[in-house]
Symmetry: C2
Subunit: 445 residues, 2 copies
C-alpha cells in the first residue's frame, strides 16, 4: 500500500501545548505496552506497518516539521516538505509527484491519503487497505472514506451517499452545517468527511498538470510559493463524477480539542504537577515551576512556555478565538531545543529576550549572523566548540561569548551543552538570521 500521511500545522485549538512549529501529532501522549510513550505520528506509522509490513509511507508536511519527523521516525518514511503553506491540493499534488519522481512509483498504482492526527484503531487501517484495493480496481477515480457519525456535529463536512451499503456512489457533499441541519443530513444517511481517500497516482498527476500547470516534482517544488491556495475538496472531490464512498463504522476520534485530546492521553498528570482530589481532570505542566490542581472536576490544565490554560473540557472547543498571535516560546530543532525565559519591550521600543538553549551532543547550530540583534551567551553546562568569525575555540561551563550584529558565529556540542542567551535589539525574531556555509567536516569539528 502506498500511503500519504498529511501532517498539517495544528493551529490554536490545543494552545498552549501546540504552536505553529510544534503540532499535536508529535506530542508523546500514548503509552505503549512496554510503558514507553509514543506520539500520534509514531503510533500511526507503527499501526500501518502492523497491517501492511511493506507499506510505502510518505509524510506530506511543512519544512519546519522535517527535523521532528526525522527525530521521531528515524528516516523510515519519505518526506514531501512544502517550502511554504499552501492548501491541501498543492500539498497532495507535491506529495504525489514526490511518489512518482523521487520514489519511482508507477502512475497506475493506487495511493491512500489520510490525515495523521485522528485517534484510530486497527480496523481503520484495514479500511485503508480496502480503500486502496477499491481504487486499484479503477471503477471510480476517487474513493472516499465516509465515517458513520457518532453524533450530529458542526465540526465536519458531510458526504451523502446514494445507497446505505458498504460501498456507494457519492450523491453530494455538504459544508459544515449547524446542529439541526446535521441531524437532518444524518437522517438522510450522511457520513462524516474525514479527509481520507484513495486514487490512482496518474489521476492526481493529471489533475496537477491541468490545475497547476505541471506534475513534475522539481517544478512544483521550485514554484511552490506561486501555486494557488486551493483545497483538495474544491479542486477535485466536489467536481469529480466518478466518485465512491466506503462506509467506516469503527473508532475515529478527532483529537483537535482539549476535550477529545485528553480522552486519548494515557496519563492524568504529566510533568511537575500534582492533582489532588480531582475528577476527570488532565494536567500537563512543561514549565519548571510546580503546578497544583486541587479538588477540581472535568478540567484540562496545561502550562507551557507559551502560556497557561485552565478549561472545562466541554468548553474547550471555544478556545481558538481567545488565543492571541504570539511568537513561539519553545521549539524543538534538529540541533536541540530552546525555551524563552523572559521577554520585555522597554520604554523606548528596544527589546530584550532571554533563552535557555540545549544543544544535543554532536549537533550544531548553523554558521550565521544577525542584522538586528546582539547576543550574550553564557555557557552554564557541557562542552563544545564555538566558532566566531572563523576562529574555533573550545568552550565549557563559565565561558561567555559576546556576539554583535554582523559577527559570524556557530556552536557545536561535544557533550550536552546548556547556554543562557540574552538577546538585545530593535527586532528580536527567529527570522533575523543570515545562514552561511561552514565545513563541519574539518579538523577539530
Amino acid at each position: 500500500m502506498n500511503i500519504i500521511l498529511l501532517s498539517g500545522g495544528s493551529g490554536k485549538r490545543l494552545w498552549p501545548l501546540s504552536n505553529e512549529v510544534r503540532a499535536k501529532q508529535f506530542l508523546k501522549i500514548f503509552k505503549k505496552a512496554d510503558g514507553s510513550h509514543e506520539s500520534m505520528v509514531q503510533r500511526m506509522y507503527r499501526m500501518i506497518c502492523e497491517v501492511d509490513s511493506g507499506a510505502s509511507v510518505t509524510i506530506a508536511t511543512s519544512e519546519n516539521q522535517v527535523s521532528l519527523i526525522n527525530a521521531q521516525l528515524g528516516g523510515k518514511v519519505g518526506i514531501s516538505a512544502e517550502p511554504c503553506r499552501r492548501d491541501t491540493f498543492p500539498a497532495i499534488a507535491l506529495a504525489a509527484a514526490y511518489l512518482h519522481d523521487v520514489k519511482g512509483i508507477p502512475g497506475n498504482e493506487a495511493v491512500v491519503v489520510c490525515p495523521v492526527d485522528p485517534y484510530v484503531e486497527s480496523d481503520y487501517f484495514q479500511m485503508l487497505d480496502k480503500l486502496y484495493a477499491q481504487a486499484e480496481k479503477g471503477e471510480a477515480n476517487l474513493v472516499l472514506m465516509g465515517i458513520e457519525p457518532a453524533c450530529p456535529s458542526e465540526k465536519y463536512g458531510y458526504i451523502i451517499p446514494h445507497f446505505p451499503g458498504l460501498l456507494s456512489d457519492v450523491h453530494s457533499f455538504k459544508e459544515k452545517p449547524d446542529i439541526l441541519t446535521a441531524e437532518k443530513y444524518i437522517s438522510q444517511g450522511a457520513l462524516w468527511n474525514g479527509g481520507v481517500f484513495a486514487f490512482k497516482l496518474e489521476y492526481i498527476l493529471d489533475m496537477a498538470k491541468s490545475v497547476l500547470g505541471t506534475a513534475l516534482y522539481e517544478e512544483l517544488f521550485r514554484n511552490y510559493e506561486n501555486l494557488p491556495r486551493i483545497s483538495f475538496d474544491y479542486a477535485v472531490a466536489e467536481k469529480e463524477k466518478k466518485i465512491q464512498v466506503m462506509r467506516f463504522a469503527g473508532v475515529w476520534k478527532d483529537l483537535g480539542t482539549w476535550n477529545t485530546f485528553t480522552e486519548a492521553m494515557s496519563d492524568q498528570v504529566v510533568g511537575n504537577a500534582v492533582a489532588v482530589q480531582c475528577e476527570n481532570t488532565h494536567v500537563i505542566n512543561e514549565l519548571q515551576i510546580p503546578l497544583i490542581a486541587l479538588g477540581v472536576k472535568n478540567l484540562a490544565i496545561a502550562a507551557t512556555p507559551d502560556g497557561i490554560l485552565v478549561t472545562e473540557k466541554r468548553s474547550s472547543d471555544k478556545l481558538k478565538s481567545y488565543v492571541s498571535d504570539q511568537r513561539p516560546m519553545y521549539e524543538k530543532r534538529i540541533w536541540g531545543e530552546y525555551t524563552v525565559l523572559d521577554y520585555r519591550v522597554q520604554s523606548d521600543g528596544h527589546n530584550s529576550l532571554a533563552k535557555h538553549l540545549i544543544i544535543i551532543p554532536g549537533r550544531h547550530i548553523s554558521y550565521q549572523y544577525h542584522v538586528h540583534r546582539t547576543e550574550m551567551w553564557t555557557f552554564v553546562d557541557g562542552t563544545g566548540k564555538l566558532i566566531i568569525d572563523d576562529i574555533i575555540t573550545e568552550v565549557g561551563r563559565g565561558d561567555t561569548a559576546y556576539i554583535k550584529p554582523g559577527m559570524k558565529h556557530a556552536i557545536k556540542a561535544d557533550t550536552e551543552l546548556h547556554i543562557i542567551e540574552v538577546q538585545m535589539g530593535d527586532e528580536l525574531t527567529e527570522e533575523d538570521i543570515i545562514r552561511l556555509d561552514w565545513d563541519w567536516g574539518q579538523d577539530g569539528l
Copy 2:
C-alpha cells in the same frame, strides 16, 4: 490608642502568591474609592487612623518585611523587627519593649495587639478602642476580643466566657476542635479567639522579665536568637486569672485561604489573563505568559514565579500540605525586585540559575561578594554605576560584567536598570552574600 500590629509570615496557605518573604498582607488587592489599590496592611493602617487619628501604630514583624513596610507605609509607623523568627510571646515582648524604650510610652498606658491580616470593617476598630479603654481601667490584666462564630470551624481556638454579655470573665480556652466539638462549644456560648487583646504595657514588661529574663529592648533584641519559642497564649493568656473577654459581632474574615482571600478581592482577573464564560472564578497571573480560563466555575487560579495553582475554592483549605518547600522565585527588596527565570541542577550537582533584576532609580544593591558562585550580568535596559573591586564604571544597555567568587561588587541605578543575571556554582542561595561597607555618598554616586 497604642496599637501593635502583628505582621507574621504567611506560610503556604496562599501559595503561590505568598512565600516566606512575600506575605499576603502586602498584596494590593483592595480597590479604594479613587480606583487605586491598597494592601491589607495599608488598609488596616488607614482605617485605624480614621477611628483614631492620633493612634500610635507599631508593626511587629521580621527583618525581611521591613523594606516592604517602609515602601507601603512610608515611615509613618514604628517597626519592631525580630532578628529571627521566634513565637508570638517573644515577638510581643520585643514590640512592647520597643514601645517603652524606643517610643517612650509609659508603662501604665494600655496597648492593643492584633494581627494585620483579617478582613475587617470600621466597627472592628471601634471595638479595638473599647478593648483599649477596658484595659486602661485595670479591672483585668488582659482583655481579649471574642469573635461571634459565623459557623462551627476547625480553624480557630475558642474562648468560653462566663456570661453571654458584651463583657465577661473568661471561663476557659479551647484548642482548635473538630466540627462536632466546635458545635458543642458554640452551644455553650463559645467565641473565636482571633488573637486580639489589650493590656497595660507594664503588665507585659513584667511578664517578659520573669519569662525571658529582661524587658529591655536592647537586650531582648541582641539576645533574640536564644529566646524560647513560646506562644503568647501559652505563656500568658492561659495562665492569667484576671482575664476578660469582649464580644465582637461585626465583620471579621480570616483571609488565610484562597476561598476567603478571593472573597475580599476587588477584581476577578489580575495580570495577563482572561476569564471567559467563567462563574465565581478569580484569576491572578503574575507571569509574563498569557493565561486563559475558559468555562470554569468556583475556582481560584494563581500563577507566579513560584508556581501555578488551580483550586476549587472550598477545597483550598487543604492546600498547605501539598506545597513543597522551595526557594522563593520572586522577591521585592528595598532596591527593587528580582524574578528567577530558570533554575537547573546539572548532572554533576552543579547549579545554574537565571534572574531578571530590576533596580529602582537612585537605589543600589549593597557592596558584596560571594563565596560559592560566579555571576554573569548583562545590562539590558537603563543606566547606572557598577562598582567592581573598588572601581566605579558607568554602565548601560549592552554592557556586561563577569563577577567571580570573591570579587567585590555593587550596582546603583541612575534610571530604572534591568539586568539579566546568570549564576553558576555549587550552591546558589540568597544566603551566599558577604556584605561590605561602601561610602555611597562619595563623588559620582
